[in-house]
């Protein structure tokens, strides 16, 4: 691998919802071309971490560096313009709009969507081409996942943030979606994946972090983490 260049680096982040202290002194890094997963149980602050990175919530203290810029005080659209893209929890497609329109919205920060970008997404997910004029809200869960990922890809992101891509999918589709993630990774896309399904996530990731009630309690290479005794007991369920 080439030398490590940090793409995203958040340091000493403290995030509050009103008076509720959620994230406490969170440090996290994603290098160029790296696939990092953020593991943790229910309501431990995983989505909050992503929202903080994306600027949907502002941290009280801490610093967020992205692509060499301090984005701590930038708003979400500015960060998206810099190269962040998100596949939100539960996908959050625009239901009454067509698949094509959903994809095009992904390219919003770049201007009008380019045909070759669309083709690239259709190559990845041929099914979406056939469904391009169907309303996104009427797709099945697996298909919606494809649209959500395709939509994120449309902005030529430098980093894709995925919030629980396996949520609500049948086991077979979970496998497929991680295959797709591994595939994207092999093409050099940097990703930060938030997951409860630690097994699956660690099988494709380079590195991982474990979050517990708002604190990072463990971090390391994916292989190490997969073999970690405590983690096995707590999250891998065996």
């Amino acid at each position: 691998m080439s030398e490590k260049k940090p793409l995203l680096e958040i340091s000493n982040i403290d995030t509050y919802y009103g008076v509720i202290h959620i994230l406490q002194q969170v440090n996290l890094r994603v290098d160029e071309g790296e696939l990092v997963c953020l593991l943790g149980g229910n309501a431990c602050g995983k989505s909050t971490t992503l929202k903080t990175i994306l600027g949907m919530v502002k941290p009280k203290v801490g610093k967020i560096m992205f692509a060499g810029e301090d984005v701590t005080h930038q708003n979400t659209p500015a960060r998206v313009k810099l190269g962040m893209a998100v596949v939100p929890e539960n996908r959050r497609l625009f239901g009454p709009m067509t698949v094509l329109e959903n994809l095009k919205i992904g390219a919003y920060v770049r201007g009008e969507a380019a045909q070759e970008d669309l083709e690239r997404v259709y190559d990845l997910f041929p099914k979406l081409k056939e469904r391009s004029s169907q309303l996104a809200g009427t797709l099945s869960g697996g298909e919606q996942q494809m649209v959500a990922v395709g939509r994120a890809l449309m902005s030529h992101p430098r980093l894709i943030l995925m919030d629980e891509p396996s949520m609500g999918l049948a086991p077979k589709l979970v496998e497929q979606s991680f295959e797709m993630i591994a595939n994207l990774h092999s093409q050099g896309v940097s990703m930060l994946i938030v997951e409860q399904n630690a097994n699956m996530a660690l099988s494709v990731a380079d590195r991982g972090y474990v979050l517990q009630t708002g604190r990072i309690v463990l971090e390391g290479e994916a292989k190490e983490l997969a073999g970690h005794e405590e983690l096995r007991r707590a999250y891998l369920g065996r």
Partner: protein
């Protein structure tokens, strides 16, 4: 030879079968045509229009009709209705951007119309003694209302749904109160008070439009102007809707947070929607003032606001063709209903159509009609025996339909009392009808039909204004129940 041919044929057949089944392609997509169920009967009409008549053909037909109307109609009253329709379409278009696309519940929208109208009035009448050129005043109005739209949008940036509704409602009322109060203002530097808006008296004697020395003295001039404007707006808005701006507006409506996380600058787009809507309404207001040659603030208050909202929602929020349709219904229908004869015919038409839609088959429909007729005779005969006093026929017959009905309809002496009773019973029965079993529905339907006609002939026919409101309201309720997305709107789907 013949031995070879058999497998080939089978192969071919298999390939044919495969192609028919759409194997290898997405099966759902392959079967889409067969699987798309058509709604039968009257309920299928909107779907039919939506799916089988291409959008451009609809517009061409509309445009041709509008053109023919302007070219061949000479009746001033009809032309005025046409002009009002044009203004209504403009207002619906503007609101369609703010509410239909961007999903912003702006209840102060009509104030921009009023500001446009009053703005033009103040620049082109003896009220302040200005008679500026039409170009200049219209330009000032467009820029001014756009600016005001910008200012009003500032609170909208942080507000959604009902909160935004309250704030904009307040804005609308502030406009009305300001106009009412501005007939008597004393500036600190002056001794005498100044009358700016003439308050509730309104401003008369407004100059007509005048472009290149051509004065708009005929109402037809305004009709053509509006036709051109509406055509331009239709093209422009539907184009914008297909660009990233239009898409972004709709994402805000669906899920503003998700939109923001896609990089959509939600605040800026909300502002753009407000500004565009305000400018369109302002321009419409200026045209209205010039055409009407007088403005009164009461014309820019909630009643008009509800009509515009009704038009946009009725046609299908987010659809331009729907906005036109809604505008036609909301601006032409009240005019039609002013004439008792028309309203009577329309009422019966609606009744018959409802029966046809509910009854589904010709047989059911006939049974319902015959049952209603029988109920009518039964009531007349029974109450005839009881020799209760009736209203003499000539006192309640107002039109050809009631004349025809006069041999059948029993009309009691105290029409107000009986009418009110029928009204209450009718509402209770309809409420019950919507929840009960099919068998009871079958029995109830003719009774409801009879009561409807009874109520109409006994009470409503003589009270045109109430009737108008009731009919329009009833129509909205029926439409919202049978087609919640509006006539030409797209059905909403929820994403989980």
């Amino acid at each position: 030879m013949s031995e070879n041919r058999v497998p080939e044929e089978i192969q071919e057949n298999a390939a044919h079968e495969a192609a028919k089944l759409g194997i290898g392609t997405d099966e759902w997509v392959a079967q889409h045509e067969e699987r798309t169920a058509r709604k039968k009967g009257l309920k299928g009409v909107p779907q039919f229009i939506d799916e089988s008549i291409p959008a451009w053909a609809r517009w061409v037909v509309l445009l041709a009709a509008a053109f023919a109307f302007g070219a061949f109609v000479d009746n001033q009253y009809l032309l005025r209705i046409g002009v009002n329709l044009g203004l209504f379409v403009m207002l619906s278009y503007g609101l369609n951007i703010v509410m239909g696309y961007a999903g912003l519940l702006d209840l102060g929208y009509v104030a921009f119309y009023g500001i446009g109208a009053y703005g033009y009035a103040l620049m082109s009448s003896e009220q302040l003694g200005h008679h500026w050129s039409t170009w200049l005043s219209v330009l000032i109005i467009i820029i001014g209302t756009a600016l005001l739209g910008y200012i009003v949008s500032l609170p909208a940036r942080r507000l959604f749904g009902d909160y935004l509704a309250i704030v904009t409602l307040f804005f609308g009322q502030v406009f009305v109160q300001l106009v009412l109060a501005s007939d008597n203002i004393t500036f600190p530097w002056a001794d005498d008070y100044v009358d700016i808006t003439a308050g509730a008296n309104g401003i008369p004697g407004i100059d007509p439009f005048s472009f290149f020395g051509h004065k708009f003295l005929n109402i037809r001039d305004y009709y053509w102007l509006l036709l051109v404007l509406v055509a331009l707006l239709t093209i422009t808005i539907s184009r914008i809707n297909r660009t990233r701006i239009g898409r972004a507006w709709r994402t805000i409506r669906e899920d503003a947070l998700a939109a923001e996380s896609m990089g959509v600058m939600v605040n800026r787009l909300k502002t753009m929607a407000f500004v565009t809507g305000a400018a369109i309404a302002g321009l419409a207001g200026a045209i209205f003032a010039a055409m009407q040659s007088a403005v009164f603030v009461s014309g820019f208050d909630m009643p008009l606001m509800t009509m515009i909202y009704a038009a946009v929602i009725l046609g299908g929020s987010g659809s331009l063709a729907g906005a036109v349709m809604g505008a036609i219904v909301m601006s032409v229908l009240p005019e039609v209903l002013r004439v008792t004869n028309y309203s009577e015919i329309l009422f019966l038409a609606v009744l018959v159509l409802t029966l046809a839609a509910v009854g589904k088959s010709v047989k059911r429909f006939t049974i319902n009609i015959v049952s209603i007729a029988l109920i009518g005779f039964a009531v007349k005969i029974l109450l005839g025996f009881a020799s209760i006093k009736i209203t003499p026929t000539e006192e309640w017959v107002v039109g050809p339909v009631s004349r025809a009905l006069s041999h059948w309809m029993y009309v009691p002496l105290d029409r107000v009392l009986w009418g009110n009773c029928a009204f209450v019973i009718l509402i209770v029965l309809i409420a019950y009808f919507t929840t009960t079993t099919p068998r009871i529905k079958t029995i109830l339907l003719p009774i409801i039909g009879y009561l409807g006609i009874f109520l109409w002939e006994v009470r409503l026919v003589t009270d045109v204004n109430t009737t108008r409101q009731l009919l329009i309201g009833a129509m909205l309720v029926v439409l919202m129940i049978t087609r919640p997305q509006g006539f030409l709107g797209k059905p909403r789907v929820e994403v989980l």
